[in-house]
Each structure stands twice: as C-alpha cells, then as structure tokens.
C-alpha cells in the first residue's frame, strides 16, 4: 500500500509532529507510515483522513501485489 501523506502534509503545511499529536500517535509512527513500511489500521487511516478533510482513498492507495 502506498500513501500521499507527505504531499498532504506539505499542502496543509503541518509537520509530522503536528499530525502525530492531532491523532494521538508518536512521530516515529507517522514517519514509518510515510515511508510505506507500516500499514495503519482502518481507525488510524480514518483519523488521518479526517485531519486532511479527505476520503481515505485520496490518501491511501492499494499497490499491485497487495
């Protein structure tokens, strides 16, 4: 699974730490998700999408082979 988290953050101009605090996780967790190493739970994905005011599919996308 890939995501556009980094781009969305740039558009909204918030840091990883800001995002982490908004959804109550650690900054390293955000970073691990951004580098496509961790697939967040549905709850976490929905929370992230809510911060950016977009549907989940606009941020997270299935890749070939998932």
């Amino acid at each position: 699974m890939k995501n556009t988290l980094r781009v969305e953050r740039a558009i909204k101009n918030i840091t990883q730490a800001d995002l982490a605090e908004a959804i109550g996780v650690s900054r390293q967790t955000i970073n691990t998700i951004e580098s496509n190493k961790y697939v967040p739970s549905t709850v976490l994905a929905l929370k992230i999408a809510r911060v950016f005011g977009k549907p989940v599919e606009a941020i997270f996308e299935l890749e070939d082979g998932d």
Binding site: V25, Q28, T29, P40
Partner: protein
C-alpha cells in the same frame, strides 16, 4: 527492582549466598529432599528479577500507539522463538556430548549450564530477549520504527508434524510416568514439537488470525509469569525443580490452548452467522 534481583540471584547461584536469618523452621525434622530449615533468599531474588523485568517489559511507552503495541507483540513472539532456538541448541550440544563424551563440550556446558543453572536462566531469558528485541526495533533508526514481520512455517506438513509429535510425546510421558520410568529426556524435548505447532500457519492464515496469535502469545506470557511467581512462593527446594522443568512447556502450552480456543469460538459464531444470512435471504 530487577537490578538488585540480578545481583542477589547471582550471589545465590554462584556463591551459594543466603541472607542470614531470612528463613524459617518448616518441619520438625529434616528428611531427604525436605530440609527442615528453608532460606528464602533465592525466592526473593527470583521475585525481584521476574517482577522487575515484567514491569519493564509491559509498561507502556510514553506515547503508546497501535504501532508500538504491534511491535511489542511482534518482539514477544520473536523472543519466544529465539529463546527456544537457544534451548534446542543447548539440547543438541548436550546430546552430542552424551554420545561423544568430549571434554571440551563438557566443560563448555558446565560453564554455562552447570547443574540447574540453565533451567534457572529459562525462567527469565524470554523477558530479557524480548526487551532487547523490542528496544532494538524501536530505536534502531532515529526517525522511524523498524518493521519486521514474523515468518511462519507452512501449514503443510509442519502443523501435522508438530501436532503428532507433541501428542506422541505427551502420551509417552504420561505412560512412562505411570510406570515410574525416567521421563527426563522426553520431557526436555517436548517443547520443540510444540514450538513447531505454534509456528506453523493455519490453513488460511490472515491478518485477523495473526492478531489472535499475538494476543494469545501475550496472554500466555502473562499467565506463565503469574504462575511462576505463585509457584515461587508455594514450592520450595526439590519441588521447585519440578516447577522449573514444567516452566519449559507452560508458554507454548498456554498459547496453544488460548489460540485454538479463540479460533474455535470464532468459527462457531461464523457458522451461526452464515446460517442467519441464509435465513435473511
């Protein structure tokens, strides 16, 4: 709490240290294996070590989220595997030694596991390995966590091998102990087929079953240490040797029971909901 425990434990095991006066008269007269006077120094040391390590291992991170929780359970599963891999290596060296009687290996075994020290180590090595692994995954990189998935053995043929051998060993142990024959070696090898069982996939292994696995493993480790601490105070001297030997199988045994019970419950409710869907149509 763990540190003074380790120091005290080290003194008990290697220097046969006893806190003066920290004991009591348990029986009127000494019998073989049942000494009248029991010193509690070793019980105290074990309680401190295990208690301290459990607190360190299972206290939350400053920011505990789903990923750190996930890494924690992953590290735990990995630690159990690593612990028993070490144990298997130890058994194999001991077996080779039995056949060849090499002086060198014998000395090595004496050094790391003279007498019952290996059994004593096994009481807390899973926790130590777990902590090393957990903090390695968390702090290896500065900025992100290290994600490592656990590998499992394929369902075929390992599940069947593990189950057959575990049951066969268990039956043999019960049969032989009824006949009062020596079961030591059988008992020491029993955890290994059980581990194959624990680490073989379900026919349809998915994300949810993976989550149940991790959950069951955490529960079995908790249960194991609760049992150990209770046993620590309930059994002394020779009796505690049985507890230590028993401790080799408690984690895989509790895991298998919890894991399969959960799966059974899910499958039962699954059948029910499948039926109700048909009814709705």
């Amino acid at each position: 709490m763990a540190l003074p425990g380790f120091v005290l434990g080290y003194m008990v095991v290697y220097n046969d240290y006893k806190i003066p006066g920290f004991g009591m008269q348990l029986r009127e007269q000494s019998q073989l294996f049942l000494p009248a006077y029991e010193n509690f120094t070793n019980e105290l040391a074990l309680t401190l070590v295990v208690g301290g390590l459990v607190f360190i291992a299972f206290s939350k991170q400053k920011i505990e989220d789903e990923l750190t929780a996930n890494i924690r359970l992953n590290a735990l599963y990995w630690a159990i595997l690593a612990n028993y891999a070490m144990y298997a290596m130890f058994l194999i060296t001991a077996a080779i030694n039995n056949v060849l009687q090499l002086r060198l290996i014998e000395n090595a075994i004496e050094a790391i596991a003279g007498g019952f020290t290996f059994m004593t180590y096994n009481l807390f090595t899973p926790l130590v390995i777990f902590m090393a692994r957990f903090y390695y995954l968390l702090y290896k990189r500065n900025d992100e966590y290290e994600i490592k998935t656990i590998r499992f053995l394929p369902n075929k043929p390992y599940r069947l091998i593990g189950q057959t051998l575990s049951v066969a060993f268990a039956v043999m142990i019960i049969a032989q102990s009824i006949k009062r024959e020596d079961i030591t070696w059988l008992f020491y090898t029993l955890p290994l087929p059980m581990l194959i069982w624990v680490f073989s996939k379900e026919k349809q292994e998915d994300e949810y079953i993976g989550a149940i696995r991790l959950d069951a493993m955490q529960l079995s480790v908790y249960a194991n240490y609760i049992i150990l601490l209770i046993a620590n105070f309930a059994f002394y001297s020779t009796d505690f040797l049985f507890v230590m030997a028993f401790n080799f199988v408690t984690i895989p045994a509790i895991f298998l029971i919890v894991f399969h019970y959960r799966l059974y419950k899910i499958r039962k409710s699954d059948v029910a909901s499948a039926k109700s869907n048909l009814n709705l149509l």
